[in-house]
Symmetry: C2
Subunit: 249 residues, 2 copies
């Protein structure tokens, strides 16, 4: 049944040179071994993406990448794409209770990602980092000292509540992949700040390692499909935003 | 069946002196005429809220208000609470396709709300507004000139796509209530900036009026249950952040 939603391949639309928010979706597709195309990384793909965002008679406009095309469906907003994909990829337990819990955790991770982005763009995305460096230093200081501990402490406590292996219980779900990704990203951007966290988040650290060791994830991370972190993405390594000793105050 | 989830009343937990993110949930409960308790507005309620956030053997920890207790369920993250409530309150059409579309729009509204908040707290929530006023002016300038038009333009185009009456089609859903609320909030915080938008968003303006005129919403807005906007909430009226003429640049 070519063209039916059930059999259609997944098409991911996202900026081709960064991990960004698209990476949370890539990790789910990779862990599931799902057939997908990373459209904007192909010739002409960015142009196709921009066109899709305008919508058509059949598909609604899209606010921003990432979004997914699957058969005649177009689904946007990272957490929403994951909630759409997860039952299809067997990356979330059955039942309203567990799926609600998954979305709750995913949306909290999304808040953390937005705040991580704003450490280098506190004034807005319309200005270069260089033009908002002073504000960025202040915001990053608060982020590392107060927000990272609060967010990662929350994930740690959810792991303790679920029994410690994965965030929803004994089996991996998509939120574990997302938790893995934020630990990767924060460790890239704030190695000093994260070093100071390590002892407070043993369950989360173990979860990170457990995800990294999964065969499909390990293969993906070693492949060219995994775009390296860089200073165009959400998690950026600017040493001035991650001092060895936190400022007093 | 006292105590069953189906018959249990809804308990909303949110800061008692602001509309904030809790308001999106209040509006859904009010439109549906659902029995609910705004727990933290009762004596001892904030203390009860803080205790719940720590979690227990039966309920997981909560990252931040608002959250909902319903029978033995505790559900957090505004968009997730709404996705949980909407089918129960008949505030979303049946079917995966429409519910995915609803969550996509709601999450985009959530992004707008977060950016509206950051106009007065660009450096972080740990500092007073007065200590980040210069950065706030810059961020608010970008927000009013670039972000409000982009977000509201998106909602306008979704309305055009759906036929113009409500965001998902001919019947009201919870995302229409949320769109109403952001128009209210932005108009309170940025009356000058919003005046310049009015001609660009006729469908959204009409949606706002249509929601305000619904009998239960009108009764709610006129009641003491509707907390007035104030300068402790997300949408704050600081005239210096909303100049009559936008700065050139």
């Amino acid at each position: 049944m070519v063209g039916s939603v059930k059999s259609a391949r997944y098409e991911l639309y996202y900026w081709p040179t960064i991990q960004g928010r698209g990476e949370f979706i890539r990790l789910a597709l990779e862990e599931a071994g799902a057939p997908y195309v990373d459209v904007a990384r192909r010739p002409g793909g960015v142009k196709a993406m921009m066109k899709m965002m305008g919508g058509s008679a059949r598909t609604p406009p899209v606010f921003a990448p990432p979004f997914l095309r699957h058969g005649d469906r177009v689904v946007a907003q990272t957490a929403n794409v994951l909630a759409y994909l997860a039952p299809r990829l067997k990356l979330v337990p059955a039942g309203d209770r567990q799926r609600t819990a998954a979305l709750e955790i995913q949306l909290t991770i999304a808040d953390l990602v937005a705040e991580a982005h704003d450490t280098h763009h506190p004034i807005g995305v319309g200005l270069y980092y260089e033009d908002q460096k002073a504000a960025a230093k202040k915001r990053a200081g608060e982020f590392v000292q107060a927000r990272i501990p609060k967010f990662l402490g929350y994930l740690e406590s959810r792991l303790a509540h679920s029994g410690g292996r994965f965030l929803l219980g004994p089996r991996l779900s998509y939120v574990d992949l997302s938790a893995f990704q934020v630990v990767c990203g924060l460790t890239y951007a704030f190695p000093e700040g994260m070093r100071r966290q390590a002892r407070r988040i043993p369950l989360l650290g173990a979860l990170h390692d457990r995800v990294a060791d999964r065969p499909r994830i390990a293969a993906y991370l070693a492949s060219k499909r995994r775009i390296p972190f860089n200073e165009d993405g959400i998690f950026r390594r600017y040493p001035e935003l991650d001092p060895k000793e936190p400022p007093r105050g």
